[in-house]
Amino acid sequence: MNNCFVDQFRKQTFRVVMLVLFLMYLPVGVFGSFSNKKEGKSEGSKKELTGDVKRGQKIFFGLAELGEGAPVCANCHNTTEIDSLNWYPSSYEIGSKFKKKGLMAFKKAVLSPSTPTMKKVHAKLTLTDQDVTDVKAYLDQVAVDGLTPKKPVVKNALLMISLTIIIIIALVDAFFTWKVKFKIIHLVVILLAVAGQVKLVSHAAIALGRSKDYSPDQPIKFSHKVHANQNQIDCLYCHPSAEYGKNAGIPSVNVCMNCHILVAEGQISGKYEIDKVKAAYTNKKPIEWIRVHNLPDHVYFNHSQHVGAGKLDCTECHGDVKDMHLIKQVEDLSMGWCINCHRTKEVRFTDNKYYGDYKQLHEDLKSGKIKKVTVEDIGGTDCMKCHY
């Protein structure tokens, strides 16, 4: 019996040790293979191009000579992921665009640009052929590797850890070191720290699956501010089905081309972004936008109910899109948020003949028993108004 148990124990220990070893070597192996791959690729690209990637990177970041008063490339063309809108194309975009084009095309675009902005900025650039080749080599590499990812923010984690340390200190002091005499202080400190942790966890849990403030980079740097604010284009010009359809819809490329067949150059963005729209149109490849407002599958939401029948203003849910360069989700689109509005929002009760069927409510409204009819009064908080 005993022997058997020992055997079992040994087996288990052996397994655990092997597992730990495996886990330890796993990252090494994985990253090892990654780095190998990288080297292989850059070697491959070196053979094709004679540029020096390292030197190209130095030039791009202004660490090598660029000519007197010349701007640093990386100042305008970001090399890391950012969450603000940079009107200038990122190093990745340039890299991808010129990857298949020749060196001459790249050189021409850099040194003798066609748009006024670029002419002004690039005017003082003095680059030799070798410099251009090196920069291109670097950009080709960026086109393969992509932008450097943003480092995650660890504010909450730090807070969580520090609160845990406080709890531990308080416990240690309460039982072993006895620096603070009144036990009530320990208790209060521990309770407060635990409360803080609970709050952190619960907030994080509630935010799970929600994406308030979501504002991803789009394939085209489309600015709502430019279109809806500066150019005063109505929301419904591009999103007409918000009024009569389930989805507000993203305008098809032919709608973009209504204007952009004439407007070939933007004030801020120049030709670069608008060219993408034109390219989509001529290449017959639709633009793959990143969806920002996204309700879960078990929610039925119909735009025409809210915009067409309810006559809501777009800004009530989408915020001041007119002031956004990059579109952002301003509300959390949670059920609580929906319900709150349904509880307070007045229905266009007397304007729409459909509501004539609600006779009692009409009477109450007439007699002054109620002042307004909210969405909730006509069943707007029933489950099966949104979930079916």
Partner: protein
């Protein structure tokens, strides 16, 4: 009170509890079986529970730490004008699969067809569809379909296939050989043109139309009687007395949907109508039609001819015509003949027998009764069956003699449903060119050299003339999913014709059919309008309907008496018909309207026969070389057993394969016509068992007065006859709760039991609309069938000669719902429009609501039925899931679901009214079941509106609610069934019973 029962076992032993015990353990064990493959044997253990818990916690933490995946939104490059993403479009089209016709609207969401609705503009189907038409949308997304052309089973391309076929065809033409074009009945005028063009190019072409379920007997009889080789249209709405001999006109016979609509119209007692038609059915198999009949007389199929001849003789004697030598029938027909004579011009005698003599006698009887031109319409004959059985026999002997050099199969599958398929298969080797145009694999197409798959009908252009003068168009509603080509285009290409079928079709309509109308002056406009309407009916010429001239010399041969031996009758089921749609899981899982079994065919035996031979349900017996399970079917005629056709398919797809047995080899040919019964069969036990998915003892209502019926006589005396307890329940209505008041809408449904024929169209419509999963035979047996609407079938009286009552039951949307107040998480609650709602995401699966629902209408998702290899039906493949309705959630495992009154449709129509700034119209909202119901038995509307149709039906004295004494206040009302008999409770078997 009369006793109602659902199964012979229930009648004999009280409630059938054996099944309950069998599955009790199963229900218990099903809770945690995530890690166990062989579920039923293993019990739930603490170990499993801990495993599951550990797994869930890890999974939850892993999922929580993941980022939400990035979703893309890809708009159109150039948006078509009519498309609004998220809004459905409806295109008019036509369904015809060779047996069943329907003018339809196809609901298309974002470019994919997801639902079939009836086309209300059609004069034939009038917005109604059958279960098979409803299910046809799923066959578009059948994985088994051919993906492209093939040569000898090897994938090929169209150019190569065309080149080879054209070379071979030309060679045959050169040597003067014969080509056989074997098709199902073709009702498309444009396709006939294509075939003509093919015959012009290849003069040796012989065109044979082959109907597995044949109407040749009727065609030949009509030719002999009137010189018209046609099938007339039967007008059940004009007949006050209907006598049918095995013609299952409400289920499978000719055009059941229009027949059902007409039949029900004449049997409704609304708007103060005080008369209804009387229906007498002679049959051996209990059919949908027989169960609706006022009087059903079970007889042997072979005896029907004797009864018909006896009726003929009585009528002929009075008319002074020559008599038929016939033995006296077991059924005394004197009273029946008297009744028929009293309804001259207003009666209708039909027979389903494929026998020339019987049909001749029936014709003559109708002629005596002056029914032609009144209830039988030869002015607008039906085109939907044209095949002559002799043609097929000739073809086979020609093939055997090596006279046929090429054969093209279009919409036929003789190697499955031809009786002597071995003979056919062996002789096929003598044909040098074999081409099949079949859309999906079938027994025939797997044997041929060239497969040139046709489009699915939802991808095709086509037209149809099901009834003379009524045309309809079919248009593609989606881009072809696979590399297939329309059959007509293939034929045109091989004939060397450069025209596309679409152009030929349009030309034909713009040139030929345009001449027949005067509504549009421009042929283009006429084409566009027809395409939009989907139908076009030739304006009536204004002439009265005339009776054709009788030309037969009444030279009937002597009819011998029936042998005493056991007779095996072959019949079609409502769900599968002749079996061409057998790979459709919706249809396979549709409980048979009568037996309530699915996923199998079985030998129906009468209770007396079972007792005599000591047979029980599921015993496997051997009959005529086939091994089939037994099913005890009350109402099966004495001396007969029956077996359904359409099962036992081979290599046609994962659903159809090996379900049931193939009964087609038992069909015989006699006197130029195919016979669907064989005499002198022996039944022998094998001692084996074959489980059947019987749903009939599910959802039993424990013998309470659920269905209420009365006779016409009593109804006329007192409209509330049979419904006396309703008044009492109303009187006793007291409640501790506050009365529920509805301002605005209060949705309700009224169901006229007089109209429901239990055809099952509503079940499939609901399944398509609400993404209801198919769960397979094993699970159905465990009483877990997911259908939101079921049709309960009750028998009463003698098990050998039962009366049948059908009752559709869905969620009753009680205003005082028992399910609502037991839910611990408030996942089910009442809406302010009277709907009993379920929030799936809130449900935690306690099933308290299921236990507390007295109507047994709630369904539980025992498993995840989507993307689950254990449930390998349509929802397990990306292709099959394209049929899902995007407006309705696909339910997860562990939640309860049930009928919602199609809340998505209610919301849609309400929104439309709001957007158009108008009140809702009565009848505007139609749940899927109401939309499709061929007999208009279901009516949906607003109970708050006193003038709505449903409110008026609720006020009828026939109206009652299920278990109304429980004070659940259902929003569904039922109208009592009224039978056109003298008295239900008295003895009224004397007029036409066994003599």
């Amino acid at each position: 009170m009369k006793k109602y029962w659902k199964s012979p076992e229930e009648l004999k032993y009280g409630l059938n509890l054996n099944q309950e015990e069998e599955f009790e353990m199963d229900h218990k064990n099903a809770v945690i079986d995530l890690f166990e493959k062989d579920i039923p044997e293993k019990t739930t253990s603490r170990r499993n529970f801990l495993k599951l818990m550990g797994f869930s916690i890890t999974a939850a933490s892993v999922v929580a730490s993941c980022k939400r995946p990035v979703q893309k939104a890809i708009p159109y490059l150039i948006k078509p004008e009519e498309v609004t993403p998220g809004n459905a479009l409806y295109y008019a089209s036509t369904y015809f699969d060779g047996t069943e016709y329907g003018s339809i609207l196809v609901k298309s969401r974002d470019g994919r067809p997801i639902k079939i609705e009836g086309n209300k503009l059609s004069g034939i189907s009038a917005g109604k569809t059958s279960a098979r038409v409803q299910a046809s949308v799923l066959s578009l997304y059948d994985e088994a379909r051919y993906k492209g052309p093939m040569i000898s089973g090897v994938e090929s391309d169209w150019d190569k296939v065309d080149a080879e076929i054209i070379t071979k065809l030309a060679a045959i033409r050169k040597k003067g050989g014969k080509i056989a074009l074997l098709t199902g009945t073709v009702i498309s005028p444009s396709t006939i043109k294509v075939i003509e063009s093919f015959r012009e190019s290849y003069p040796g072409t012989e065109w044979i139309q082959y109907d597995p379920v044949s109407f040749a007997g009727m065609l030949i009889a009509n030719k002999k009687s009137f010189g018209l080789q046609q099938i007339p249209n039967y007008r059940f709405d004009r007949a006050d007395l209907i006598v049918s001999f095995s013609a299952d006109f409400l289920g499978t016979w000719l055009i059941p949907v229009p027949f059902t609509k007409d039949y029900a119209k004449n049997r409704k007692l609304d708007n103060g109508k005080r008369n209804m038609s009387k229906h007498i059915q002679f049959e051996s198999v209990l059919t949908v039609t027989g169960s609706s009949a006022d009087k059903r007389i079970p007889v042997k199929l072979s005896e029907e001819k004797i009864i018909v001849a006896n009726i003929y003789n009585l009528l002929a004697k009075k008319a002074g015509a020559s008599l038929v030598k016939v033995p006296k029938s077991k059924v005394n027909v004197h009273a029946l003949v008297k009744e028929l004579e009293a309804h001259k011009g207003k009666s209708l005698v039909v027979s389903g027998a494929n026998d020339v003599e019987t049909q001749l006698l029936v014709n003559r009887i109708n002629y005596f009764l002056k029914n032609y031109g009144k209830t039988i319409d030869f002015n607008k004959p039906l085109n939907i069956r044209k095949g002559l059985d002799a043609d097929m026999e000739n073809l086979i002997s020609e093939i055997e003699n090596g006279k046929i050099d090429g054969i093209v199969f279009y919409n036929v599958n003789p190697l499955y449903n031809y009786s002597d398929k071995d003979r056919f298969e062996n002789s096929l080797d003598k044909v040098s060119l074999q081409v099949s145009l079949s859309t999906s694999p079938d027994e025939t197409s797997l044997m041929v050299d060239y497969n040139c798959p046709d489009h699915h009908y939802l991808e095709s252009w086509n037209d149809a003339e099901p009834v003379k003068g009524s045309f309809s168009l079919a248009q593609p509603v989606t881009h072809p999913l696979f590399n297939t080509r329309q059959a007509q285009d293939s034929l045109l290409k091989w004939s060397g014709n450069d025209l596309k079928y679409h152009d030929l079709l349009q030309q034909n309509w713009e040139e030929k059919l345009f001449q027949l109308q005067d509504r549009e002056s421009d042929s283009k406009k006429f084409w566009i309008r027809s395409l939009q309407d989907g139908v076009f009916t030739v304006s009536p010429s204004g002439g009265t309907e005339n009776s054709p001239e009788w030309i037969f010399n009444n030279d009937f041969s002597e009819i011998s008496s029936v042998s005493e031996g056991l007779e095996l009758v072959l019949y079609e089921t409502v769900a599968l018909g002749d079996g061409r749609n057998a790979n459709n899981p919706w249809l396979q899982e549709l409980p048979d309207p009568v037996s309530k079994a699915c996923w199998d065919n079985y030998l129906n035996v009468s209770p007396a026969f079972a007792e005599k031979n000591e047979l029980q349900n599921e015993d496997v017996v051997e009959i005529a070389g086939l091994k089939v399970p037994v099913f005890i079917q009350p109402g099966q005629a004495e001396g007969t057993v029956s077996l359904a056709l359409g099962y036992g398919r081979d290599n046609t797809g994962k659903v159809a394969n090996k379900t049931g047995v193939n009964a087609w080899p038992l069909v015989t040919v006699k006197d130029e016509t195919r016979q669907y019964s064989i005499g002198e069969v022996k039944v022998s036990k094998t001692g084996k068992k074959h489980t059947l998915a019987l749903t009939q003892t599910h959802h039993s209502m424990e013998g309470r007065p659920i269905v209420r019926e009365t006779s016409l006589e009593e109804y006329l005396e007192n409209p509330a006859a049979g419904n006396e307890s309703h008044a009492e329940a109303e009187k006793n209505k007291v409640s501790l709760y506050k009365d529920v008041k509805f301002d605005g809408h209060h949705w309700g449904m009224a169901i006229d039991l007089n109209s429901c024929t239990s055809c099952g169209a509503c079940i499939i419509a609901c399944q398509a609309e609400n993404n209801i999963p198919v769960i397979g035979k094993k699970e159905v047996r465990k009483r877990r069938i997911m259908h939101w609407i079921r049709i309960d079938r009750y028998y009463s009286e003698d098990p050998e000669q039962p009366m049948v009552l059908n009752q559709p039951v869905m969620c009753q949307h009680c205003d005082n719902a028992p399910c609502e107040n037991v839910c611990p998480v408030s996942a089910t609650m009442h809406s302010n429009e009277g709907l009993n709602q379920v929030a799936y995401n809130r449900c935690i699966g306690t099933k308290y609501c299921i236990n507390n629902c007295p109507y047994r209408v709630r369904r539980f998702n025992w498993y995840k039925y989507v993307e689950n290899d254990k449930f390998d039906y349509n929802q397990n493949s990306d292709l099959g899931r394209l049929v899902l309705n995007p407006d309705v959630v696909v339910r997860e495992r562990g939640v309860v679901e049930k009928c919602t009154f199609c809340v998505q449709r209610i919301q849609e129509k309400k929104l439309n009214a709001k957007l158009e700034n108008r009140p809702l119209k009565d009848g505007e909202i139609e749940p899927a079941c109401v939309q499709t119901c061929p007999s208009d038995a279901l009516v949906f509307g607003d109970l708050s509106d006193p003038d709505s149709k449903v409110s008026r039906m609720f006020k009828s004295e026939r109206n009652y609610h299920l278990l109304e004494d429980l004070h659940t206040l259902p929003s569904v009302g039922y109208l009592t069934k009224v039978r056109n008999v003298e008295k239900t409770h008295g003895e009224d078997k004397k007029d036409v019973g066994h003599a």
